[in-house]
Amino acid sequence: MQMLKQKSFLWLLAVSAVLVLLLPQAATAQTDGTPNLKSARAYEGSPLAWGEVRFWASSNETIAVGVTDDVGDRLEGSIGLLDIDVSGRDPVANVVRASKMRLLAVDLKQQVSEGDWTVAINPGLEFALSDPTGTNTASGVSAYWGDVIPTLGIVMERLYDDSTLIINPKMAKWRSSSVATNNQVVKGFGTVVGIGVGLRKPVNPRLQLSADVTAIICGRNTVNENTNRVEKDLVWGISASYLVSDTRPTWLTVFTSNAFGPTGATSLLATPDNAACFGVRLDSTF
């Protein structure tokens, strides 16, 4: 556990260092989505770097860093790295579970229409840099959850006065089952399909608030804390983004959410018992 903590701390230092280096060159950073939903507008401008840390009540942190860029005509490309290496302090079905996952998430977002409704298609692939693993710490046996997770989303957004409504059906294809190291068949999340609804509202030029909720309509997206069985739960997030500086326009976002992470696949997964994180995110352009 101590090693885990040291590792997370090193990650945190690395992310902080990268973002600090970027700050002097920051232009107009954008925070167009909500904590767990993307904006339908394709990103335009200089490459955008972002990093976030989610602090969990279990004294664990999950970290994600990435870059988003304008890669074509109304085409946005993102690449991100997510690191989850946690062991909840509280047990799930009376046994403490450890989860490990390092994903390289690559996705494109093609804006296909603009009008009352702006619509974008958002396919992606998330590659496991290390085997995504759920481990029963009492027995030491583990289940592996695949090498590649395809994702697909359709993002629709509409402006109402100064507020933006986002509707985002999305899908991630997790394994439906896995043969664990003790040969036990463990049921997985399967193909998770959810419909997210989000709202983003500027309070003033420096501050905007957003919230989202995603209902799962297919597959399972969380582990029941009492039974260790996979089941459905809402994914939600609330955030406040603040333009830290006029001269160095960088957005600082604080948020809370029960989602595993910000990528297409992990933003569909909810923590057991709706456990929420406290998150900090920085967005800045090169």
């Binding site: 009540a57 664990n60 309070v203 260790n228 406040a240 923590t271 456990a275």
Partner: protein, 378 residues
């Protein structure tokens, strides 16, 4: 400062949401294996050693044990030695007419027997007597028709108590009465004890069943084989089969049997057939006119012709009208050295073939003991 107020308010609101929303120490969790299935619950089995395995030493922990349910390894949560977790000792006593000497022997030896448990955290003593009837039959005449001239009586029980005097008072009140025919009804008494006695929260339960004949089973309806004293309501004496009682007690309680030696009725051929791969084993040694051999509940039968495992208890021969000295039964160490193993099981699992393996080092020697409990009902 006024400009910062909205930000501070939002941050404060989010912190409140986060704190209220946070549910303990959970974090992102991928599906992970549990013991044999999706959800989980706990099961427990008490083990002692009667099958050629050395007595387990005191001081073993969960890490010394491995449990499989239907062949799948599960998580061992705890291993509780009887002397730490407590033990419940229950006498299931045939008190029909021929048992006078046995009763006297138990009365005389109980104090010395109990003195061997003074280092135990908790010891609960209890008992239930039976003839053809049990305490649930209440006051009746049919169980007390022998010797002729009696009119009515009632079989009694004593609830678990740490005060040995409560057991002694009950023992003093026992009178060998009734009977006059074969078999008697220990199976009903055992199941009634399991269901109606207020069992304390202790790890191990040991039953000392004392009887000088065989047992009624459900498929031996009245009239009795010698047709002396049937129930007036026409119902069978016992609603249970021996195999059902064995399944109910495996892992839940260890039954020691003090009963006649019916070894001659066990055959190696039957044992070979029963132990063949894929064979379904049904305890079935019924002695003509005397009933089902309750030894099957204890050690499963004579080793050379054993058809199945019992509950892990010890069998000791009881000769007709013989005195019973509890200290000579050889069960003292088995009770002292028994362990209750607590393990994880799927919520919806109602029974499973449970095998417990103990691995430990004693006097520098690596030892392994395997306890095949057979099909255990949770």
């Amino acid at each position: 400062m006024r400009r910062q107020l909205p930000v501070l308010s939002v941050v404060l609101a989010m912190l409140i949401i986060m704190v209220c929303g946070c549910s303990g120490g959970l974090s992102p969790t991928l599906p992970s294996p549990d013991g044999g299935g999706g959800g989980s619950d706990t099961g427990s089995s008490t083990i002692s050693t009667t099958s050629g395995v050395d007595l387990l030493p005191y001081g073993l922990s969960a890490t010394n044990f491995e449990v499989t349910l239907n062949g799948d390894k599960t998580v061992v949560l705890d291993a509780i030695p009887a002397r730490d977790g407590g033990v419940s000792i229950c006498f299931i006593f045939d008190t029909t007419g021929s048992m006078g000497n046995a009763i006297d022997g138990v009365k005389e030896s109980i104090v010395e027997f109990a003195s061997e448990f003074t280092d135990f955290e908790k010891v609960y003593w209890s008992g239930m007597e039976f003839g053809d009837g049990t305490p649930s039959d209440g006051i009746n005449t049919w169980d007390f028709s022998f010797p002729p001239g009696l009119t009515e009586g009632e079989r009694t029980l004593v609830q678990p108590s740490q005060d040995l005097n409560d057991l002694n008072t009950w023992l003093d009140g026992l009178v060998a009465i009734g009977g006059g025919d074969w078999p008697e009804n220990p199976l009903k008494a055992l199941m009634e004890a399991k269901a109606t006695i207020n069992w304390p929260e202790v790890g191990a339960r040991h039953f000392i069943t004392i009887i000088d004949v065989g047992a009624h089973q459900r498929d031996v309806p009245p009239p009795d084989p010698d047709q002396n004293y049937p129930r007036p309501d026409g119902e069978p004496f016992c609603p249970w089969m021996g195999s059902e009682v064995l399944a109910a007690f495996r892992g839940w309680g260890i039954i020691h049997a003090v009963s006649p030696d019916y070894s001659a009725n066990w055959t190696e051929a039957e044992a070979d057939a029963a132990n063949a791969p894929g064979a379904e084993v049904t305890p079935s040694v019924v002695i003509p006119e005397q009933g089902w051999d309750i030894r099957e509940l204890a050690d499963g039968g004579p080793p050379e012709s054993r058809t199945h495992e019992g509950t892990g208890g010890k069998w000791t021969e009881l000769l007709f009208r013989e005195r019973v000295d509890l200290n000579e039964l050889g069960i003292l160490d088995l009770i002292r050295q028994s362990y209750t193993i607590v393990y994880r099981k799927p919520v919806d699992m109602t029974s499973a073939h449970v095998v417990i393996t103990a691995s430990y080092i004693e006097d520098g020697v690596s030892k392994t003991g395997t306890f095949d409990l057979g099909e255990v009902t949770f």
